[in-house]
């Protein structure tokens, strides 16, 4: 298990055991399911986005592997308080971090705790776990964006 640390950094293990923002949200404006039927990962995301396009609050429920759960927990941590545009930008950067060996993002301190996912590219079959909820959030953000530009 020499490389276990690559994938299961303490921060990931911690967030998978004690996820933040876990539970339902009463005052949500957006809701989406993030399902990977192939491995059984299944989450519900709740986002409360203000008229000013700021993500005021967010939460999630559901079950899945440590990677997907920690990723969801850390994602919500990272985007709460951010604007839709900022969250979208982070989505793109997180994808690079997770998918590309030695991506610029993996060296970038502004990624904060998300850097814990910089070893996932070595486990191609696990990439989809790390990005499952991110893609679901992206779908919400895009819908918001389209509504606003109509």
């Amino acid at each position: 298990m020499t490389q276990a640390a690559d994938l299961y950094q303490d921060i990931i293990l911690h967030h998978s055991r004690s996820p933040r923002h876990f539970g339902t949200l009463d005052a949500y404006t957006h809701h989406i399911k993030a399902d990977n039927p192939l491995c059984g990962d299944s989450y519900e995301l709740f986002l409360q986005i203000g008229d000013d396009d700021i993500i005021r609050n967010a939460s999630f429920e559901g079950a899945g592997c440590a990677i997907s759960k920690a990723s969801t927990s850390l994602m919500l941590d990272a985007v709460i308080g951010k604007s839709v545009a900022e969250a979208e930008a982070l989505f793109v950067r997180f994808l690079c971090l997770v998918k590309e060996p030695g991506s610029p993002e993996s060296q970038d301190e502004s990624m904060g705790k998300l850097a814990a996912f910089s070893g996932v590219w070595k486990y191609p079959s696990r990439v989809k776990c790390a990005i499952l909820s991110w893609h679901a959030m992206h779908d919400i953000l895009q819908a918001t964006h389209q509504k606003n530009t109509q």
């Binding site: 020499t2 490389q3 055991r17 192939l38 491995c39 059984g40 592997c65 990677i67």
Partner: protein, 405 residues
């Protein structure tokens, strides 16, 4: 127990290192590794002969045809079919079931007829029948299993209503290792006037499969799960039935004559093999069968039995481990979950130790639903595994539990 040791060196894939460790292959239920003789047979076809079959009068083609038909005879012998006319080469188990489903929908199954499968089935033995339900109006029924993962024979008997024309089930569950009472189930089906299809994908590498002894009407299996190449498989069918059934796929080689108005199909087995077949695959499969026939099957069974019993005993000593499926008769395969560890996380951590296991639903989601788990970890044993492999996997469990403690 020693029969496994000399064989390990026969498998070049076992020479590789995974993340610095010697590979331990506990995923034979997904695909078996290939012995040297199989790899060489495929190689020789491409380097030496490399011609098409059944089509030309030249020597390379005659050699290829002879080798291809010798492979059919090997397969006949392996399954103990009455004649090579009963052996159809397919691309694998899934392909064989789909081929048969198409043919049955054209020939024997009528709208309103029912097909009975079990709750244990692999998706390959579920979805093609759902397609017949959706496109041809047949009904699909499910024979339930017990809490242990055994077939419920009383319920199976009760499900054999007169409209049931086909009963299709796996001889050995790929997800939890249940050995089904095939002979008995075939008898019950036949008494009720139904045809029987056995999915022997898992069974063929682990226990002797004799179509005459089983009494089944059809049987399918995959080359790649019995030490053979990918892209090749077998469909056995009783000659009278294959004679009666229309072909499923059509094209060159399976015809006697073609005019635009009317095509006359070829005799068996050609009738069911359209186009250039997987010649290298068939030749490699024959080498795999030869490999298998040279080992007494009881030795394989006994060896895998010992590994499985040891693994089950040790797994039961670990409180965080819960076995999924505790069937009365179980071979080669054990499935389990670990408390607080998702199977996929466990899978990645086993891999870090060089141990290849399967984590997932094993293409048996309805069975997972029965046990109320999204996925399990599956260890499957084959003749090249040994106690050392089991011990390494057990050590790995300890470390995985520590990571997630």
């Amino acid at each position: 127990m020693n029969i496994a040791l000399p064989l390990k060196t026969d498998f070049p894939a076992l020479q590789q290192k995974i993340k610095g460790h010697d590979l331990v292959w506990l995923d034979s239920a997904s695909t078996t590794l290939k012995p040297k003789s199989v790899i060489t047979a495929v190689h020789q076809y491409y380097t030496h002969c490399s011609a098409n079959v059944h089509r030309s009068v030249h020597t390379p083609s005659e050699e290829a045809t002879a080798a291809y038909e010798r492979s059919r005879e090997m397969a006949r012998k392996f399954l103990n079919a009455r004649s090579t006319t009963e052996i159809i080469f397919t691309a694998g188990t899934t392909d064989g079931i789909n081929l048969l489903a198409t043919s049955l929908s054209r020939g024997i199954l009528k709208p309103g007829n029912a097909i009975l499968i079990t709750q244990l089935e692999h998706h390959a033995n579920i979805v093609p029948w759902q397609m017949l339900r959706d496109y041809h109006g047949v009904n699909l029924r499910i024979a339930p299993i017990t809490a242990t993962g055994d077939i419920d024979l009383d319920a199976f008997r009760a499900a054999m209503t007169p409209d049931v024309k086909l009963v299709a089930f796996s001889a050995l569950s790929n997800a939890i290792g249940t050995v089904l009472p095939v002979q008995q189930m075939v008898r019950i089906a036949h008494e009720a006037g139904a045809l029987t299809l056995i999915d022997a994908a898992q069974a063929v590498a682990t226990m002797p499969v004799d179509v005459q002894a089983l009494g089944c009407d059809f049987l399918v299996c995959s080359g790649h799960k019995m030490f053979g190449p990918t892209g090749i498989g077998l469909l056995y069918g009783r000659e009278t039935l294959l004679d009666e059934l229309p072909p499923a796929r059509t094209g060159g080689d399976m015809i006697k004559s073609v005019t635009f108005e009317k095509t006359v199909f070829n005799d068996l087995p050609a009738k069911f093999e359209a186009g250039t077949p997987n010649i290298a695959g068939a030749i490699g499969l024959a080498a795999a069968i030869d490999f298998l026939l040279n080992i007494p099957f009881e030795a394989i069974t006994r060896h895998e039995e010992a590994l499985l019993q040891y693994a089950i005993m040790k797994l039961q000593e670990i409180p965080a481990v819960r076995r999924i499926g505790t069937p009365q008769k179980q071979v080669s395969i054990v499935s389990f979950v670990m408390e607080n560890v998702h199977p996929h996380d466990a899978g990645s951590l086993f891999d870090d130790d060089g141990i290849a296991v399967r984590a997932g639903h094993h293409c048996a989601q309805p069975l997972m639903q029965h046990f109320n788990v999204p996925a399990t970890i599956r260890w499957s044993f084959s003749l090249y595994n040994d106690m050392h492999d089991v011990n390494r996997a057990l050590e790995s469990i300890e470390r995985i539990l520590k990571v997630f403690s």
